[in-house]
Symmetry: C2
Subunit: 365 residues, 2 copies
DNA sequence: TTTTAGCACTCTGTCTCCCGGAGTGCTAAT
DNA sequence: ATTAGCACTCCGGGAGACAGAGTGCTAAAA
């Protein structure tokens, strides 16, 4: 229902608005781009675009601003795939040399890197470590005094530990027996698959001063089981948003900051299955404070079949094309690095697809 | 050199300025407090306070604002010890029921709690886990495929782990021998005390396919040794600052945010030995972006002889008295909880000193 | 029928001016 | 030493003026 010319006008408007943050008028537009038509014609076309809901006017006699719908059309059909410049990809690749020594700080570190890379607020999410992994080994290591360490090693090299205190230390032999029993029964199960029956049986085996340990192990396993399937989410770089005129009002900024920092709430983060990059523009977001912000999210493989998610939060007036390209490139690079850490595959197909990272998949509406 | 009356006038000015964020004039002051003197006299005294550097005027014919020096005197000598209300202490105690299941997220979680509790930006610092602890046990746990997990258990129940990949898996027996040798040689040492000699000797012992593991263990130990003595630092709740008029200018806010989030830099955080609460006001801070902010820091015991630090960052116009009280109470409570987790002492002396948390120790100048 | 030129109109943002209010410094009287 | 009084200063907010950018509409041109 939009003519070709209308589409290219919309595209031009979105792009200049993204660049300037100011309503764009017909004259300025016809000066910058060369449509071969006069500003009057542009005005007529813009009027039509307003009628169809792609643009709006802050007030009569102001320039035009894209609506959510306008951005959406832009993202879905209009915007160019962005070619990363050599500088871009060098920068991104460089950022990928991050240390992932500590798996449990992965989300935080990724968030920080990503926010620095994009100059927006970033979000990173990964399944909690125990999620869906089977128990490989349970161990108890006595330390100083009454302290012991409980260790649960899960699939893919994930280790969870917990410090406990015991009333009295079991003998080495008793501990050995205890561990043999426990491991015999629980290895191979997921924490969530440990039943009351298992625990009861183990409790009986836990004589000779291991009862105390058993109780705390039960707690620990329960906790691991409960964390299964949950996502851990970290945000970073909120401060970057203060640069953008949209967030110069500290109250707005504060609202969004507060929302992003409320780590308990993950509902707002889409977790795309296979779309390269999911974009949610303004009102498309379910959560209130995001309704005048935009969110871009992409998934990445964390190795071992686990998926993490990387995203960017910013004003609706975002450089979607460029950011989608960077986000997607970064996520793919990360997948390669993490996949490599686990599966050690050959990796040198990185160069081949640099151009076509830019196209974002439309959000299912 | 200040008369008693001047001191109480300064006190009144600081307190009303803290409450209102607006320059306080002689008339308003004489209306609110009852000094038994007229506003003219107040003016004379205020002029003297300006001459001595405790106050300043944004411009002629405006009210007065405390200088850093004024705040300093207030904090050192003028302010009342703040009595926590029952609500206060209930709230604080409640916050102490936080989960400290994951020692390695301690700083982040504490920072978040503290910022929520105070409505300022908060900072928490703790020594990196490996700092100064001896090796209790080293273990290697084979997982799926070529993945193994390297475990190093340190004193006080601190566990560090690392995922590694090996070219080929050693046999169970070889691994057993290898671990026996490694543990025999390294247990009881601090990671930083492991010498090249040790490693060389171990390398020779690492036959039967364990060479790969040994190399990665060496890396890991080196890393642990290097982290010794370093502090880990986390900030949280920067967004809270946006509420205060001092940070309504997004550029100011951004500068401070950026600074606080630069985790590499810890120079700016004082780590008091025994002072209840250290206060650094404005220009007393070494770091640029903090020079028009204030910082309150207190230490707390993390158990096992380790000390962490908790702090608050905000505008110089802070409610020092109240915050010092809360900070100190929180830190003491935390010390009790963490001390208990490690040493399990009796703890019920908590109630006794609620009144005198408020007095902050002067910064050594 | 589509495009364009022209024109009158509207709205914003900025600048200036103005004024009330709060506060000061000084002087003279208490 | 204190106070009352007074003239002066400065900020902040509101009213008015104005330039600039942009619009909608109409009538002419293609």
């Amino acid at each position: 229902m939009l003519t070709l010319r209308q589409r290219s006008i919309l595209k031009a408007i979105v792009e200049t608005y993204i660049a300037t943050a100011e309503p764009v008028g017909s004259k300025a537009l016809s000066g910058k781009y060369n449509f071969g038509v006069s500003s009057a014609t542009l005005r007529n076309e813009m009027a039509e675009l307003i009628a169809q809901g792609y643009l709006e006017q802050p007030h009569t006699s102001a320039g035009r601003v894209p609506t959510h719908q306008g951005y959406r059309l832009y993202v879905n059909e209009l915007m160019n795939g962005y070619s990363l410049t050599p500088d871009d990809s060098a920068e991104l690749k460089n950022a990928l040399r991050l240390k992932i020594a500590r798996y449990d700080k992965l989300t935080e570190e990724l968030g920080q890197v990503l926010s620095r890379l994009t100059n927006y607020a970033a979000v990173a999410a990964a399944p909690k470590l125990s999620s869906g992994r089977t128990i490989r080994r349970i161990d108890v290591i006595p330390c100083d005094g009454q302290i012991c360490v409980l260790l649960v090693v899960l699939g893919n090299g994930v280790v969870r530990d917990r410090m406990i205190t015991v009333a009295e230390k079991p003998s080495t032999a008793a501990l050995y027996d205890f561990l043999a029993t426990v491991n015999g029964m629980l290895v191979g199960l997921e924490p969530s698959a440990v039943t009351v029956g298992h625990l009861k049986a183990l409790n009986e085996a836990a004589r000779y001063g291991c009862g105390d340990i058993m109780a705390q192990l039960t707690d620990f396993l329960t906790e691991l089981a409960e964390a299964s399937g949950e996502m851990e989410i970290a945000t970073a770089g909120e401060g970057n948003l203060l640069s953008y005129p949209e967030y110069r009002d500290p109250d707005k900024a504060k609202e969004l900051f507060g929302f992003l920092n409320d780590a308990d709430n993950v509902e707002w983060l889409p977790m795309p299955g296979d779309a390269p990059v999911v974009v949610r523009i303004g009102a498309e977001n379910p959560a209130g404070p995001l309704q005048n912000a935009s969110l871009m999210v992409t998934g990445c493989s964390l190795g071992g079949g686990y998926r993490g998610y990387l995203g960017i939060v910013g004003p609706t007036r975002m450089d979607y094309s460029r950011l989608a390209a960077r986000l997607s490139f970064f996520a793919r690079g990360l997948s390669a690095v993490l996949g490599e850490a686990v599966n050690a595959p050959a990796e040198e197909d990185k160069e081949k697809g640099d151009e076509e990272h830019g196209r974002a998949r439309e959000e299912t509406t």
